[in-house]
Amino acid sequence: MRSTLLLWLFFFTFLLLPFPLWGNIDYSNLDPDSPEVQQACGDAIKRLGPDRGTVAIQKNVIGVKKNVVDIIGIPKGTSGSGIAIIGQVTEVEMALKDLEAKVSETEIKIDLPSDILFDFDKCNIRHDAQEALKKVAIVIKSYPRKTVLIEGHTDSEGSDEYNMKLSFKRAVSVKQWLVDIEKLIDTNFQINGWGESKPIASNDTARGRQKNRRVEIIIRK
């Protein structure tokens, strides 16, 4: 009798009660056409409602290049706007210089030290970093609709996995700042976190580690 009771108690405790907790499906094991996946998809679609979770794509009309196009064909004597454009071009050049950007025929590469952008072990943008990021935004805006790659890197302190996640989160923070504050288009960005896998200096010295802690911004022309 007691054994039967224990048996029921066992089933109730270990099989029935935790069932909702074990409800997470491990999709890594499943075929995409399996009934479980199809069921999950059907439910997900219902939850999304009529707009199906879509986000509208905004077109970027801000930027020096757009303004330059607007200016072409303006008759002589209306040079006021032209002066404004020259001013913006100079602003881009200044920003590139201040950021020590590497400009080639195919891309512009900007290295931002993580120590300026973030506090130790954090991924929130520091207030002091906004000046540099504003300059980055000026450069990006001069290449509207181009792909911008943002890549986070760390030094070798800490585990590989932790560094990979930290570097990715930091890259996302930079992108989010540019999208939220500078109203750049989300879809133009590609984000990567490389952790400690791509050092540019030795991790044996403090100076080297500082160099390795960075966020790279690459604008593909």
Binding site: I25, N29, L30, P32, A40, I57, F168, Q190
Partner: protein, 161 residues
Amino acid sequence: MEVYIMKDALLLFIVLPIFIMIGSVFISSPMISLAIAQSDSVIQSQETNYPGIIAELIQCKRKKGVLTVKVRLKNISVKSVKTWWPDVHKTSYLLDETNQKKYFPLKDAKGECICNAVSDNIKPNMSRTSWFKFPAPPQEVEEISIVFPLSAPFEDVPIKD
């Protein structure tokens, strides 16, 4: 009598759950899906940010309002490469340029991405196929762009119905 009940309790509440847990680990471990390049035809290939790894789009199929996308990461180098899909539900999406819309991967009731993109160590000449489920664009949309964090976007991909 009490000794037997104690033994039963020990068996049921300690030993058996341990066996179940150990068994479930084996059952839920990722299937060995590494294999020498499968026969699926490649729709598009792109370089990835991992040296030696290329991404091959092998399926973009619309069925019952859901779009299934399969991507094969293939190691063409001579070294093993550890790949990692960062936050796929935020960084992967479809671009429907006809309607100017962006679609993100479907998530289940627990908020998990309905996909099997997992970190993996891909050995030379081996590959790892991942699949993703997205809300399907409307029927009139015949081509889309697919953006993944690991590679350049797959552009103008025809949707198979």
